[in-house]
Symmetry: C2
Subunit: 286 residues, 2 copies
């Protein structure tokens, strides 16, 4: 059985419940977005999956095998996050060299090619890199390591728009050539909406949504019109329809609705698709 | 004469030319986007305007008066950036209190109200705040200070989507009630596109664009179609039209063009508006 399974994971820190009974599957060869507010538990989950933190309860399997104290299983996983695992006084090019020792499939030539594309100076010490270039350095490691499961925690923090665009393009290109499982945890949701296939939303340590992006977006929409028109439309909706919120500008109102929309809206109302970031904001606002 | 004028500012660091002959005007009561790649010179410019760094050449005037060693002029300016000017062991609530000493117009009650909205714990020490909450703390200072010229350097770094949305909403609300000059330097261009009126793009220490957002977007467009159709359209364009770049997916091509579009495109081609972030990426890629 291929894939990573997260089985009933819970974890608390002092009096804070970070994760509560999390069950998830990361299938082979898919790109996931792991979305959540600051403090929702995303980083704790990624640290547990990669064995850098331990759960209070539950366990993780990699290709069917429990991962705890299992080097073969853990070597199939690569996590990049703000915690840098390389000695800080090491130079970038030396970090590439030693990566081959830990990960025999690490492609040093590819790492050097990406460094050129991002104009990363490989002679610099890791600790002397700016926030943006720290992210670029870690992304290059993750893109060159060639393991089946790669987890990106905030890969574009500090990157300018051109470098973010380049990162997404290279990720998609690499994935198209040889699919792997990529899990991207990010606050820049609208930018990854076209990159990810599956969406996992964590809220206060629990899974709120776990479905394909297309499904999630197909089951939500925006309705706009005059305040009275929109209000009368909202009151006509079946009881099980959830209204996530609304914005009012002047005399106009836009309401964000979870559920399938009618084929025919009342005259004067306009329907538009929901974007993933708007949906996220409304789902996680309370 | 109201407004800030940047007069022929140049500045080098060692062998790097950070800024070269910059001339700019920030008018009263407008919202500006200051956009540029990492290392383009944005932060140096903001530090010079707020007198935290000195130019090699040129000067800055505030409401017509040179700002160097002029406390009255400098008190009209507030800059927030990653450099925190408060003692790090100070608590948030005490930072609000002493802000009134420097800026008599600082609205402490409003700062406390915003802290509640962002769930910022005012009893915490500044240094113990996460990256996201450091940004929130600085934004609250900037929104409460009530001076005519407020400069935001990366105000949403580390903020989740909900908090970014809240920040933009509060900024617009405050601006609508009493307009002030806000200059926002950010890498999240598409998100501020609807907030800013004026766009300044800096590239390698020089001003590349300085015009209204509407003008900039009205003079650019995207054309999509089959590769051969798009190529033949591009070759038919007048010589002074600039083609910024293109994306190819399968047999289809989208080209990004600077210039006014024809009213009637050849059959089979589709025109769509350019978004500001795409435009930025293509203008600053080389």
């Amino acid at each position: 059985m291929k894939g990573i399974e997260v089985k009933n994971i819970s974890r608390s820190f002092k009096d804070t419940r970070a994760l509560h009974q999390i069950n998830l599957t990361f299938e082979e060869g898919k790109i996931y977005g792991l979305l959540g507010r600051n403090g929702a538990g995303k980083s704790t989950l990624l640290n547990i999956i990669s064995n850098r933190k331990y759960p209070d309860e539950g366990y993780v399997t990699v290709d069917g095998v429990p991962s705890v104290e299992n080097d073969d299983a853990l070597r199939k996983i690569f996590l990049i996050n703000e915690k840098n695992l390389y000695p800080e006084s090491m130079k970038v090019k030396d970090a590439f060299k030693i990566s081959k020792d830990f990960y025999p499939s690490f492609d040093e030539a590819y790492a050097l090619k990406l460094s050129e594309m991002f104009e990363l100076n490989i002679k610099k010490k890791i600790k002397s890199l700016s926030t943006g270039y720290q992210s670029i350095f870690r992304n290059i490691l993750a893109l060159s390591v060639n393991v089946p499961y790669v987890f990106f925690d905030e890969p574009v923090l500090g990157l300018d728009a051109y470098h973010r665009d380049l990162f997404y393009k290279i990720l998609i290109e690499k994935y198209s050539e040889e699919p792997f499982t990529a899990v991207i945890s990010t606050h820049l949701i609208e930018e990854v909406a076209n990159v990810i296939e599956e969406v996992i939303i964590i809220k206060k340590g629990e899974i709120l949504k776990n479905e394909s992006r297309d499904n999630l977006l197909a089951n939500s929409y925006t309705v706009s019109g005059t305040i009275s028109q929109v209000d009368s439309y909202l009151s006509s909706l079946p009881k099980y329809t959830e209204v996530l919120g609304a914005d009012v500008i002047g005399g106009l109102k836009s309401a964000y609705i979870l559920g399938k929309s009618d084929k025919h809206l009342p005259e004067g109302l306009e329907k538009s698709p929901m974007d993933l970031q708007k949906l996220f904001i409304h789902l996680t606002s309370i």
